[in-house]
Symmetry: C2
Subunit: 348 residues, 2 copies
């Protein structure tokens, strides 16, 4: 006798958070979740989401638990968009496979409800790209179960949260915006593996655990709609930044890497300021950290430390291994963080 | 007998502060004090500097007193630059006049030291364009004494502080950047007299009396040098803003006036953010005011209130007469200002 448990399929995967070096801000297509511009991120493997996905007859409704808390799927739209995309892809495959009579595929919609259990090793909602890691893990798990190829996984992850697709890969990831209307050239590509730049370190500083007041989705929509500087950044500045940053990564040229990373962070927040009404994601603590980084670089007469801030007040510092003691000493001396350093000198 | 006092020349003038609607940020020529872009301001006659200028045999050194405090002319470079420009102009005139033997002119360099006594009816150094009003008053006084024409007075005032030249005139003033290298097409022009838009009011809110940490001169130098968005603003955005704002002023179209004014304020601070290292002039109080203005406009479903911030945390609100009670009530209810409202519903 075949028990129902035999027909349960379960897979567990891990996905890292990613920190944007070239910032993603604005969707050229909100249905297909296509960005206006290329972005480049670095995956931090030490900070990750571990996700168990189950499908089978006993799974009768979609459910998502994050660190034991059941999500309200009517509020967290990303999960349903992601599940819909998977269903669309499996239906599409079924239509195709009905011709070649593939039993596995034709069975796929029997297992059409998803049970997701996610655990993160960092506080959720602290503005640490937690959703990106979470969505990436789900997309990756679904990809394993259904044997999707990478481009499908990227598209599925994107439906959860645009930048989640960058968490599908390790190391330095280049998310290409593409120009096609159907999004088929919107892909992710590894610029370099984590092994390439062994001395690079990240320090993630959590200054705030509160949820931010303006979500990224509505924020970036407002910027794209109202900022007069937005198109210039997309058309002229970003292509230059992408070229220079890729080269800096290949060359392990920290000073250039730092200059582009800080400029990108500042420019994201400049565009937020140029939005109507203006958006403010940086706090006084963020500014304090910005000043400390510049002061440290001035003091050592060389660019040894870089900061980046996403649409939130938390900071990621980048530096090379030999500068870790100096940087940690400076941060501890001059910062009163509300939390301990979240990640100390993480490998990237 | 002719006493020395007979030969004292003295003149007293008054000059208003001006609030930039289209923002000046960056000098294309630091010697001639020529701006990169046009700007438009409004002179607030109720907030002004009253300046007495004396020259004569008993005045044996340059001196400047502001509200009774003697300025250190080695530190406040603007005064010496301004005096130098006057001397240059009088020498030039003397050379010219030696041909036609004009006695007044040939005597001019006997009276070559200046004594300036300035009184302001507002706190100096509070970021209220105090220096602009002060320099404008000195330039105006010198113009009266030496019978300079307006273009000379504009050039003299600019040597004190670029934006001072806008305080030479009342009402709405358009400072044209010009394109000539010698600055002869860098002029000020009245867009409309204060009488033109009788219902317009300004409320100046002083949130901070401290001197700001980064002066405008070095700030704007850094922006012009490092911001990747700066040229786009100068070349593309500002000409559009100037055209639209001039029309809004002519039409007394408050909603458009407010939209451009707020966008200009936001964009100035966006460029400051896009500077390396980034510049921060807005405080949490400034942001609080920004949010209140948008909330008030949302509440009345119409743009009735506009804010603008220069390179400092203080705010000027613009509104029409009929909205003054509502606006003051909102500001009083939601703001804890460190000072009383500085100017309450000033005529512009």
């Amino acid at each position: 006798m075949v028990t129902s448990s035999d027909r349960i399929k379960e897979v567990t995967v891990v996905a890292p958070i990613n920190i944007a070096l070239i910032k993603y801000w604005g969707k050229r297509d909100e249905v297909l979740m296509l960005p206006y511009n290329d972005s480049i991120s670095i995956s931090i493997n030490d900070i990750c989401a571990k996700t168990r996905l189950r499908i089978g007859p006993s799974v009768t409704e979609d459910s998502v638990f994050v660190n034991g808390v059941k999500m309200d799927l009517d509020k967290e739209k990303g999960f349903l968009r992601l599940f819909s995309e998977v269903r669309r892809l499996t239906r599409k495959r079924k239509v195709k496979d009905s011709v070649c009579n593939d039993e596995d595929a034709s069975n796929s919609d029997k297992f059409s409800k998803f049970e997701v259990m996610s655990e993160t090793n960092f506080p959720v909602g602290a503005g640490l790209a937690s959703s990106a890691a979470g969505y990436a893990a789900i997309a990756f798990a679904l990809g394993k179960l259904y044997n999707f190829d990478e481009s499908d996984i990227v598209r599925i992850a994107r439906q959860g949260s645009g930048s989640a697709c960058r968490s599908i890969m390790s190391g330095f990831v280049h998310w290409k915006a593409g120009i096609r209307q159907d999004g088929t050239d919107c892909i992710c590509e590894t610029v370099a593996s984590p092994d390439h730049w062994k001395s690079l370190r990240a320090i993630v500083l959590v200054t705030l655990h509160e949820k931010k007041s303006i979500g990224s989705t509505s924020g970036m929509r407002q910027t794209a709609k109202t900022s007069e500087l937005f198109r210039h950044r997309v058309d002229k500045v970003i292509p230059e930044h992408v070229k220079k940053l890729r080269k800096a990564i290949y060359d392990k040229d920290f000073a250039t890497f730092a200059a582009i990373t800080m400029s990108e962070s500042n420019q994201l927040h400049a565009l937020c300021m140029d939005t109507n009404p203006p958006l403010k994601y940086l706090s006084e603590d963020s500014w304090h950290l910005i000043r400390i980084v510049h002061a440290v670089n001035d003091a050592v007469k060389s660019t040894k430390l870089a900061y980046t801030f996403d649409a939130g007040p938390n900071c990621t510092l980048f530096l090379e291994e030999d500068f870790v003691p100096t940087a940690l000493a400076a941060v501890k001396k001059y910062c009163l963080l509300t939390d301990d350093l979240f990640g100390m000198a993480l490998n990237v």
